[in-house]
């Protein structure tokens, strides 16, 4: 019984109707050429321009984000027509047809569209085949190219994380305080167990924003007292935290 309302919500969200629209001016032109059964190499510009402007005016089937490009094509069509109308001293030879540029474009675009339809079928077939997803092997700790992280880089990573946390709409559980000392102990304990901590991942596991902030301060404190070492494999990648060997020996 409880299922029913839930399913309704699901369907209302997942059914996004997207009408067929012409993505670009060439799309629309090709459609008109086909509809009017026009020879692509001998396009009656006046006819096609009228039809084209008609569709443009209706604004229903064109991708409105691309309106400027549709209008540009209309201008090109009118320009071609004017070229054809202008009286000339010498008749045009074949290669000089003002429509040539457009025709070349249309022919190539038509080929691409045909290739697309074949690729689309292939995509369809391919999507029903599943392979095993394998995670790339993790690099060994202590591999080359490790850079010790500056405070700024640490802070930057932290802000990345804060943004993420902010986006999550978690409930705040009141009345829970986090102490720096306990957090530090927790981090050290985690490090002793796992030997290496993934900075972003660790903070992601924190339940609340406060806890995340306290952990960040704890980490800074631990770095300051040289109990741990923070390294980054490459700039802007996640930061890994190790216990310093000396401190391990001391314990």
């Amino acid at each position: 019984m409880n299922d029913t309302p839930l399913r309704e919500i699901e369907t209302s969200e997942s059914y996004q109707v997207r009408l067929e629209v012409f993505e670009g001016p060439l799309d629309l032109l090709l459609f008109l050429i086909r509809k009017k059964k026009i020879d692509i190499h001998n396009i009656p510009i006046a006819v096609i321009t009228r039809e084209y402007l008609d569709y443009l005016g209706r604004e229903e089937q064109i991708n409105l984000d691309r309106e400027a490009e549709f209008v540009l094509m209309a201008a090109l069509l009118i320009h071609i027509k004017s070229q054809l109308l202008l009286p000339r001293e010498q008749p045009l030879t074949e290669g000089e047809d003002p429509r040539r540029f457009l025709v070349d474009q249309l022919v190539e675009f038509q080929r691409i569209k045909a290739a697309c339809s074949i690729l689309k079928e292939r995509e369809e077939g391919q999507l029903s085949l599943w392979t095993r997803e394998v995670l790339p092997p993790l690099p060994e700790p202590g591999e080359a190219d490790l850079v010790e992280v500056s405070l700024f880089e640490l802070a930057e990573s932290f802000f990345v994380l804060m943004k993420r946390k902010e986006a999550e709409n978690f409930r705040v559980v009141r009345g829970k305080n986090y102490s720096l000392e306990e957090k530090m102990k927790e981090i050290v304990a985690a490090l002793e167990k796992e030997s290496v901590l993934d900075f972003l991942e660790y903070f992601n596991r924190q339940e609340t924003l406060e806890e995340a902030i306290v952990s960040f301060f704890s980490l800074l404190e631990l770095i300051k007292v040289r109990l741990v070492m923070a390294v980054q494999e490459r700039l802007f990648q996640t930061i890994k935290v190790w216990l310093r060997r000396e401190s391990q020996a001391r314990q």
Binding site: S14, E23, G24, P25, L26, R34, K37, R66, E69, M73, Q105, E108, F109, Q110, R111, I112, K113, A114, A115, C116, S117, I118, L119, K120, R122, E123, E124, G125, Q126, L127, S128, L129, W130, T131, R132, V134, P136
Partner: protein
Amino acid sequence: MAPGLKEIIESLIFVSLEPLSREKIVETLSDYPAAEVEQALQDLIQSTASAERGIAIIQSGGGYVFTTRPEFDPWVRRFLKIDRKSKLSSASLETLSIVAYHQPVTLSEISALRNVDSSYTIKTLLEKKLVKITGRKKSPGNPLIYRTTERFLAYFGLNSLGELPTEEEIAKILGEDRTVEKAPKP
């Protein structure tokens, strides 16, 4: 043929992290004559294709991989909790085939061919790792050059760019369109 060769190859394909190329198989089994390895490979492909199994070996992305059979797609998706795999949008597909056929190609060349600004589309294709930047063109403005990736091949189940739809296949599609147009009206 050496006994067990077929099964050896099967095990190699199974453990390989990426599509296992023919060269790599031959190289690994260098103690067998290459022709025999080749024969065993063909036998293996054939036997997995005909066997009553949930998986088969296909050639894709320049090598051999195990995949599930297409008819079991609904159950695999249910297991992986994936409603449906998202497909490429028509704008993406268009841009992608332009890159595939015209590579190496620049953004302005792509936009000119489509008559549509394609900077956003190329960005999403870069994110999906279906195209990559391979350098800059030595022309005014030194624009970036785009090419398709290995992932592009695997995505469409192609082994090389040579397997892209050919002129003949394209002409056939265009021809079919024309016959529809010429069909007499009832």
